[in-house]
């Protein structure tokens, strides 16, 4: 069951049109990759700040004179700002608690392992470590941040990238690519991810990361589109929860959509299952690494 899920995920990611486009459009380009210098991967609990803030209130400033009023106002602003910051930190800390069962795995999951799993030797992308510059071709300087949904059923990567040509310090492309995995359908998500020393957590993180990099490869050198497509509201799944993004559709295939959101980010999102999947979407993946 679990193995089937991994294969299905790999198949879905392999079906993404962006990957195919990358293979055809950038077949002759030499790509290399750099990742942050930090040892540990940035992994967080998915957070929602909808309930942040203190709500409306009323404050009287019983201070004598204009100077007193200004001091009272500044004090009030400083106090509120501090409280808001503290509240946001608490919300993020609460969100991160879902990672507690995976802490041991995440503590020894390095960027090096991520790169090796996502881009093995024959993948056509060379990992250069941190801050290295390639002699030729294109460098993707990548800063991925991973999130686990609060129901622990799915992973998300926000991969902020800059693409440099060899010898240049000016990026030819900069963007953030978000890839959202489809929720796993298992009895116990924590057990699923943690099995075999967190093997599945590592594999799926690498699959998402690779998908995000392949999207970059497909779009970094593509001519910029001047006529933005029609914006519409997309419903997709973040874990088992309905999520909403205002975006423009780039492509849709095998139950996933690649969209450009209002920030200009590229997002690969799992759509709600509707009609039956096409045969090529259910076929086992050709590249098990995905």
């Amino acid at each position: 069951m679990a193995r089937h899920h991994v294969i299905a995920l790999a198949a879905v990611l392999a079906c993404m049109p962006a990957l195919k486009a990358a293979e055809s459009a950038q077949a002759d380009a030499i790509w290399s990759l750099s990742l942050p210098a930090e040892e540990k991967i940035d992994f967080r609990g998915q957070v929602n700040f909808d309930k942040a803030g203190q709500g409306p209130g009323t404050m009287l400033y019983p201070a004598p004179g204009l100077a007193g009023f200004i001091v009272a106002l500044a004090t009030h602003a400083a106090v509120v700002k501090g409280q808001m910051k503290e509240q946001r930190n608490e919300i993020q800390a609460d969100a991160d608690r879902i990672l507690v069962p995976f802490r041991k795995t995440l503590d020894n999951f390095s960027y090096g392992e991520l790169a090796e799993r996502a881009f093995p030797a024959a993948s056509g992308v060379t990992w250069l470590g941190s801050g290295a510059l390639p002699q030729s071709g294109l460098l993707i300087a990548s800063s991925p941040v991973f999130y686990m949904t609060q129901d622990q059923s799915a992973l998300i990567v926000d991969n902020t990238v800059s693409v440099f040509e060899a010898g240049s310090v000016q990026p030819v492309y900069a963007n953030t690519v978000r890839v959202v995995s489809r929720a796993v359908e298992v009895e116990n998500e924590a057990v699923f991810w943690q099995k075999n020393g967190g093997q599945r957590l590592r594999e799926e993180s690498a699959a998402l990361f690779r998908a995000s990099v392949e999207i970059v490869r497909a779009h970094a050198l593509a001519p910029a589109t001047t006529d933005g497509g029609a914006q519409r509201t997309f419903h997709y799944l973040e874990g088992t929860q309905d999520a909403v993004e205002r975006a423009e559709l780039i492509s849709e295939h095998c139950g996933r959509a690649l969209v450009r959101n209002l920030h200009g980010w590229l997002m690969s999102i799992p759509l709600k299952r509707g009609r039956a999947a096409a045969p090529e979407c259910t076929a086992p993946a050709a590249t098990p690494a995905l």
Binding site: G55, P56, G57, L73, H76, V244, R246
Partner: protein, 230 residues
Amino acid sequence: MRFRMGLLVAVAGAWLTGCATPPQAPISMAYRPFAEPGLRIGVAMSKLPTVNTSFPGAEWPLCHAAAALANAQLTAHARTLPADDLVGLKDDIAAVLKLKGQVPVVIDEPIVVDQLPKAGSMVRNATPRDYSSLQSKYRLDKLLVVDLTEVGITRAYSSYIPTGEPKGVVRGTFYMVDFTDHSYEWYVPVLQQKSARGNWDEAPAYPGLSNAYFQAIEGARAAILLPLAR
């Protein structure tokens, strides 16, 4: 003297509280409200409010002026945001009702609830306004009303100081009037407030906050469409 003062306070209190109309409590949708097929259900909407910003907590004129000035660029942007997905809500409701075997009657013109005559019914959950004119005009068994009062972006204040980040907001009520006794069969106050993911302060286009606004719209749509479809 003390007695007179106490009496005055008591009378003033009774007078003021007597004037206040208690807010309608939410009413859950009845079990299988559409069990009887073929009911003519009107679908009406009040005039959609202009998409705008609001600053609750900054009501005093000077506070409001300061908040409006500090958020002028955000207000200018908010006024450019489309509300098409709310405009089409009546048709979406009608489609759901049709799937439930009912006969939806979409009332094209916006209704102005405050201009309807006051109702005098004493039944439980009676509507304060009389919707009989719509009942007779469209030959309705029930009437479903979408009454939105706020659409846009809101930022809470405590006098001059913001107490939170701006959020996309949709506020209003959805209710269904049963014309057998002119009472609410379903009454749902809706308040959807959605935060931007990450930094909100991205003038002039405010993409994160704009997305939160569209999320609030979808949240409001779901609040009415999902219970109806259940």
